[in-house]
Symmetry: C2
Subunit: 248 residues, 2 copies
Amino acid sequence: MNSYTAGIIVIGDEILSGRTQDSNSNFIAKNLIKEGVKLEEIVVIKDNKKTIIDRVVNYSGKYSYVFTTGGIGPTHDDITSESISEAFNLEHVINEDAFNILDRYYPEGEFNESRQRMAKMPIGSELIFNPMTAAPGFRIKNVYVLPGVPEIMQIMFLELIKKIKKGKPKLVVTINTDLYESKIAIYLKEIQDKYKNSSIGSYPYFNLAAKTGGVNIVVSSWDMTSVQPVVDDIVNMIKLNGGKSSIV
Amino acid sequence: MNSYTAGIIVIGDEILSGRTQDSNSNFIAKNLIKEGVKLEEIVVIKDNKKTIIDRVVNYSGKYSYVFTTGGIGPTHDDITSESISEAFNLEHVINEDAFNILDRYYPEGEFNESRQRMAKMPIGSELIFNPMTAAPGFRIKNVYVLPGVPEIMQIMFLELIKKIKKGKPKLVVTINTDLYESKIAIYLKEIQDKYKNSSIGSYPYFNLAAKTGGVNIVVSSWDMTSVQPVVDDIVNMIKLNGGKSSIV
């Protein structure tokens, strides 16, 4: 059993208003599965202190790792850091290293009060460095606090993931077939029941213009040493039902 | 105060594994704000009965409307409908209209057991018609149950949104400026404090190749009759700080 789990908290009114399509959680999700961390849940919440506190406390207690994105900039709507201090009943203080990094980054006389807010975080935080725009993220307990701008978040995430404890990557094989899922559903269930340590997902697609469609069958497992037996059974079943299959 | 709220529950292991980028919640979010419904939260959860029940009960109690996407197909991993029946302690039964629609859709002799699963739903459900692939969604209490395939979900959503009770659309104006957000953060906060019925969001962007950047300032309100005074103050403030601005 893979024992490292994670939750993602996406913080931002701009996602809930539909203005921005969140891509951060998909980026993190893809990397976690490769790195052997099981992503259990993603939640998108408002820039609201009570909501942030509630979710951070809840996820931090449930999962090995929590990743938050958004709300750590210099403006009045950036309230992630202070909310996290409050979530853990920790003093919200200027981090000296963060202060020095930002002080060096801005031209003389331009490290104003709003910018100094970005150096404040829960006491005892460990910095997550930002090679692009200086303002760092931070880790406190099992919570990793990252910015919302995807280009910056991604670089910071790829650095931090190197340093955390992880399990075995999940084995994943995808089989495509031209058969409709409703045709093979009953046989897929039989194969699923046979291999309880694997998970068989089935994702139909439709090309309406071409009047074709089919299904991608995703076989995955955190525990098995190989999913080949499951894949073989599925490929065979597709053949018996007169379909074509390919590994994608 | 706008009194209609919503939550979205995205059901699917394929989102949590990073295999699929969810676009359904963004589509629903954009339409809700236009239609006068306040989206409060989005959660992405696993294909797990206990988790689905827990979230449906929680969101159904908190929000005016709940939209679920995914997990209503014919395969063993499609457990949304039965979970929702259980969430509300309702009998999980064949809906006759749904059964007839599906029976007509499939060629004679091909309406098999797996396909018949798609006609089962909580007793008392109202169908949400699917003009593309027949299999309907349904509404039970304040929960709208939709498929995960975006092309199908979108058509069904646009139909159902016409029929529900809504408030006034949210007023939204976006102002772009070439100033960095940290430069204007303090003035934005002053304007925010002056107009408490509006919400001012600030979203920086960076173009690293061109070494430029700026910020989009989004002024929005559910309650004001016009956000023009807020916009005027912001445009004026940008000018005083030597920046350019445009309404986007």
